[in-house]
Symmetry: C2
């Protein structure tokens, strides 16, 4: 088959260049769409990215602040985490929301799915709206040192507009809810 | 300084695990925020990601379709590309828009900036609104085999809602414009 929507790339060889518990980096030798030889480095993510936008009965949301090692900056985001293969995404969402904020939601709604960086990685994300909230004890992981901030949803949207929230999954979820 | 917004990670050692023309993967030995030893694999992106939302005088936008090697799926997206260090992001945006669609825009507006996948990578993105458009000849790169689709903006937003556009940079730009 050679229609215009079919795969125009050919993989000639494939090797694992690096891996850890979260990613596996593959180095492929390829034939490019124009027929010339090339290479493609693909970062495979072992976990599905999970984002949760909690909205309480007063219309407030909850932002999690943490230092992002990759960027060397402090970042305010919606509660997020990883869903390993074999775990249900919604279960991972419940777990991450509880771990990071102590919140339990009685109502869940899937807002959307996305691919975060598809020129280099296969990372996929799913994000939820969590409502009908009750407060319990947060249980952060050892790799996390988190701050929690409760703000009116309009303020979170304003933080996106002003570039104070730049995490893509947070931006997508907040914009999506603002459009509902 | 040890306030709650400062870096709680310590880097013990650092080595390059893999690199190509687009990414460099670093393997760091670290002391985690909880004081325990750990590792961190960081994917450094050599290019800034650029997204362009073109809107013509009739309120139509232009989507670019291509096969994404990383995901093994066909993907409809706004015009996108990479801005290497040393190039002005707006110049890269003009170049990518012309290469992929043949469009030249007389008016440009920065819509937002984002970090696409900050748990693993340092990839940053900037996205623009391009208006006052004139049609010229497209000049695709050899690594690209592109289709072009002109659709009413409302249809592009609907494609986001229905999960037919999943590329994060496209989702952010389309939702941002819908909120203006």
């Amino acid at each position: 088959m050679n229609d215009k929507f079919s795969n125009p790339w050919q993989t000639v060889s494939r090797r694992v260049a690096y891996e850890n518990a979260w990613i596996r980096v593959r180095h492929d030798e390829v034939i490019r769409p124009d027929g010339l030889p090339g290479i493609y480095g693909v970062v495979h993510y072992r976990n599905l990215a999970i984002g949760v936008l909690p909205i309480d009965d007063e219309g407030f949301t909850y932002l999690v602040g943490q230092y992002r090692y990759t960027l060397d900056v402090y970042s305010w985001e919606i509660p997020e985490g990883g869903c390993p293969e074999g775990e249900e995404p919604l279960e991972a969402a419940r777990r991450e929301l509880l771990e990071e904020t102590g919140l339990v939601a009685a109502e869940w709604k899937e807002l959307g799915t996305a691919h975060l960086s598809n020129s280099v990685s296969d990372e996929a994300a799913i994000y939820y709206l969590a409502t009908n909230l009750t407060q319990h004890e947060a249980e952060p992981e050892g790799t996390e040192k988190l701050e929690l901030m409760r703000v009116p949803f309009a303020e979170a949207l304003q933080m996106v507009r002003e570039g104070k929230i730049t995490d893509a999954l947070s931006v997508m979820a907040i914009q999506h809810y603002a459009l509902l």
